[in-house]
């Protein structure tokens, strides 16, 4: 029987299989950030251990950083301590840091791929659930807890049990105005927020193949939102073209060897998955969420479902201030956030800019555009996107996680609606009491201009 992509990579990284169904898996790339690493570094200090392979770990500061005046010291004391602690730990343990002020700083899941540090066939971990993003490159990438961050520091390995495999195939042509974010919101709405738990997902089919690397990253990014351990896409020419020439990509003879190997990184035709789903691209509409978990998504022109609300769902609607059966089209919103590791890459900003060019944001809406990295920021500037955003009355910030998580200074006020290109609509995720509506960059751009939820298909 043929092998799945998952099995190929997993098997190539088993250091040892032990009794009790666990494997010791070697980790090729370890990304860290300021929030989930300090206790892991402390663990090393307690045991008097070094970082075993410091050159396989890359650090950045992203969650806690302000997105205004990054050249000044961080005002909020605890955030500043955490970022300073990261700097100190990286220095003491010999880990390379793309910290605040570095010309390549950015959200960890944005900078890894753009620097070519994420490459096909790798095992990649980070103390962050959206590590699944890197699966777009045909990697085995997943989020871990802080104890495991310490394990990787100390041994470059993890003790893991093999998840089950799931394939989600999407075939067909997407409607105008429908993109990668809509695909993944649609999948999650169908499978629910727990539908992928226990599984590692492979995204397949001609619709997925037709996506750019940025689009594939958006899809893989949100694998965790259906509970999956991770998600990935087999390697093809799109993958290889993206990696070629990146700063850390192999060069010369190594490049040729790498490409030969990478071209084997897809599931064999006769590979068997533990679970399979197939969706038709034409059925996917622009999607939005109406509740407080990412599985609570609907086609933008559908009403909020009313069948059999349980207590959790009712609590969720109450929090959002929505009613069952209500349509969200025409719903007034107060904020638009374009950013996060899901949708803050250059392609996302280009898409938004193309739509808002020559238009003005609605008066009552505040709009924040937060590039995912310094590199994205520089490209946006060079391409003249900033002028378009400014002319439309949208505010451009400096790179970071920003209003994705209500940890740094960027927060949405209580009770107000934010159409957000991020990945989580949990209660309070964007600030205490904030009401998050997840959507694609295009749907968010339309909300910015019209000040309400609109169907992008009628606007382009």
């Amino acid at each position: 029987m043929g092998k799945t992509l998952f099995d190929k990579i997993w098997d190539a990284h088993i250091v040892e299989s032990i009794d009790g169904g666990q494997d010791i898996i070697y980790i090729d790339r370890h990304y860290i950030h300021e929030v989930t690493s300090p206790q892991a570094f402390d663990g090393l200090k307690e045991r008097n251990l070094p970082v075993f392979r410091p050159n396989k770990t890359i650090a950045t500061a992203d969650h806690n950083v302000p997105t205004l005046n990054q050249h000044l010291p961080i005002k909020e004391e605890l955030s500043r301590f955490q970022v300073e602690k990261l700097t100190e730990n990286c220095k003491n343990f010999g880990v390379e840091l793309y910290g605040l002020g570095h010309k390549l700083q950015g959200i960890v899941h944005v900078i890894g791929p753009e620097l070519g540090m994420t490459r096909p066939g790798m095992t990649i971990v980070c103390g962050d659930s959206h590590t699944s993003t890197h699966g777009a490159f045909g990697c085995l990438a997943f989020g871990i807890g802080t104890s495991q961050v310490e394990h990787v520091f100390a041994s470059q390995t993890l003790m893991l049990s093999r998840p089950k495999t799931m394939r989600i195939t999407v075939n067909g042509k997407l409607q105008k105005g429908v993109g990668a974010k809509d695909i993944i919101l649609y999948i999650i709405a169908n499978l629910t927020a727990a539908g992928g738990t226990g599984y590692f997902v492979e995204y397949a089919g001609d619709t997925i193949r037709s996506l750019s690397m940025e689009g594939r990253m958006t899809v893989c990014n949100m694998s965790i939102e259906m509970g999956a351990r991770g998600g990935h896409v087999g390697v093809d020419q799109t993958t290889i073209d993206y990696v070629e020439g990146k700063e850390h990509a192999p060069k010369g003879e190594n490049w040729n060897k790498a490409v030969t190997y990478w071209n084997t990184l897809h599931s064999d035709i006769d590979a068997k998955f533990d679970k399979e789903y197939t969706f038709d691209a034409e059925d996917i509409s622009p999607m939005i969420t109406y509740g407080t978990n990412p599985g609570m998504g609907i086609k933008i022109d559908n009403p909020i479902p009313s069948e059999l609300l349980n207590a959790s769902e009712q609590k969720s609607l109450d929090y959002m201030g929505f009613d069952a059966n209500e349509s969200l089209l025409g719903k007034k919103i107060q904020h638009v956030f374009i950013g996060s590791c899901t949708n803050a890459r250059i392609e996302d900003l280009r898409e938004v800019a193309a739509f808002v060019k020559g238009k003005q944001k609605a008066d009552h809406v505040s709009v924040m555009v937060v590039p995912g990295s310094k590199m994205v920021e520089a490209k946006a500037k060079a391409e003249g996107l900033n002028e378009i955003f400014e002319a439309a009355g949208m505010e451009i910030r400096e790179p970071g996680c920003s209003a994705c998580l209500g940890m740094n200074e960027d927060k949405i006020p209580s009770g107000e609606y934010c159409v957000s290109t991020s990945n989580r609509n949990f209660e309070g995720r964007q600030g205490q009491g904030a009401r998050t509506i997840l959507a694609s960059p295009l749907t968010a751009a339309a909300a910015a201009i019209y000040g309400e939820i609109r169907d992008i298909r009628s606007l382009i």
């Binding site: 040892e16 666990q22 807890g145 738990t197 207590a311 949990f426």
Partner: protein
Amino acid sequence: MKIEKINILNTTAVPLPMEDIDTDQIIPARFLKALTKEGFGDNLFRDWRYDRNDQTIENFVLNNSKYAGQILVAGKNFGCGSSREHAAWALNDYGFKAVISSFFADIFKGNALNNGLLPIQVNTDDLNFIFTKIEENNNTKLSINLEDQTLSIGEWQRSFDINPYKKMCLLNGYSDLDFLLSKREKIEEFETKQLIY
């Protein structure tokens, strides 16, 4: 960190029958700025326990003096969302030693096991049974025996699954790290053979 050994629990439980409780609710992001693992218990379920003016929300179960104990019983898909291990630290720090649900998110489950917090998965009927028992009598005692892998309330008893390796770790207070460090030679040997680009 030293992991506390666990084997037998015999305690009342706190019922929280909500589904899809994510780690942002267990411990909101604004409390993740600490540099140590201690003290997160005060902010466990912060925004469900206290309102924006820091006033106690009386009808939330942790504020209801009727309910206490070392076990939290919660609805399905507990611990979904962010990978923050702070969620497990907060539950531990508050005094919970086990969480019972019909379904756990993967990363949370791993984090819990790495911190000596026992995640026990039961089927939906059994979960409802436990909720009903606690509702009928808030002094209902639940017993967990890790060695035997059993959960019981009086005569009622169920066995639960746990990875044998993890069970061994919990019973002895071992962490993965002790094991991984002992494999150094194997790891170095693997590195010499590995093809990576």
